[in-house]
Symmetry: C2
Subunit: 185 residues, 2 copies
């Protein structure tokens, strides 16, 4: 499977990967147990500190692993992993090691116990920093402590969910920089 | 400018338009003043009631219009409106009528005072339902009361922001429905 040579990526710039709205794979660990879930309901909340909000359904096995460990890794998969992401989202980690089942490789993170998924384009090490609307909306607010991404390509080919089993694949990139005021870039 | 013949669209299915993560145009009204802002930081939070969370920077002129009126319309623009959306995001509504300036047409909503933008593909009439993390994160939680969208095309060609003035244009759609468990669709 395709892998990437990754470098430290500035956490205040992770909008490059998250703001376009791709499906992500969230890896977690609590004690000896690891898991992976497929997630589409997330948003950037702040540049610095680098904050991300995620809605994770309470019935997901990962929900409790993340709530208890107070951390996770948000991994950005590219289109080569589309079928894998669908399969991950359609089975439970309650009795299955999804890393083993789907041939994915755990790599150690620097700041969290949850493993990075080596085969993903980018990996964001996240710490849970706010739970005030967790009970009502299952909404976690994470701070991204460290990000890993390759230098090239600059933009991963991602997949985005529309419901009903249909995904949109990311298309071309267009630069409109000269039409921006510098403070708005 | 291109317009669409729209119908009522089920509010519990608006993930089709929002979950892929497009840039949206948010229209608002407070007393006699209307405005439009360009927004990229949003996420679906629930199917029913149909909830959407949005981070809106406090320095935006629209912030106060939305906070005071407790409503807005989330409009989904297609790629024909990319330059318009960039221009809307790079000027303030403090002294400008953006509908007039950018040749956009106000249409009356059914459930809110804020106007729909006729030229957008879809329009979501939203009511502010939770402000408990508004002060800390500028995060608004809206309920979508009514949605308007055309029957065809099923999927709009949207644009998605990556920062630095660069947009990703939505690409092809792939159906993986047969790989899903029915309850996960």
């Amino acid at each position: 499977m395709k892998t990437y040579k990754k470098h430290d990526f500035p956490v205040e710039k992770i909008r490059r990967f998250l703001e376009p709205g791709p499906i992500v794979l969230v890896s977690s660990r609590w004690k000896d147990e690891t898991n992976i879930m497929t997630m589409g309901w997330h948003t950037v909340l702040e540049f610095s500190p680098s904050l991300v909000g995620c809605m994770i359904t309470g019935s997901n096995h990962s929900f409790e692993l993340i709530r208890k460990s107070k951390e996770c890794v948000i991994n950005i998969p590219t289109v080569e992993l589309l079928d894998t992401a669908v399969a991950i989202g359609n089975c439970t980690g309650r009795n299955t090691d999804k890393f083993e089942k789907f041939g994915l490789t755990k790599e150690s993170a620097d700041n969290v116990q949850a493993p990075l998924i080596k085969e993903c384009f980018a990996n964001l090490e996240c710490k849970l920093v706010d739970t005030r609307i967790l009970n009502k909306y299952n909404f976690f607010i994470f701070e991204v402590l460290k990000a890993h991404a390759p230098l090239v390509p600059k933009y991963p080919k991602t997949f985005h969910y529309t419901g009903d089993g249909v995904f949109m694949i990311s298309g071309e990139h267009i630069n409109k920089r000269r039409k921006f005021k510098s403070q708005n870039l």
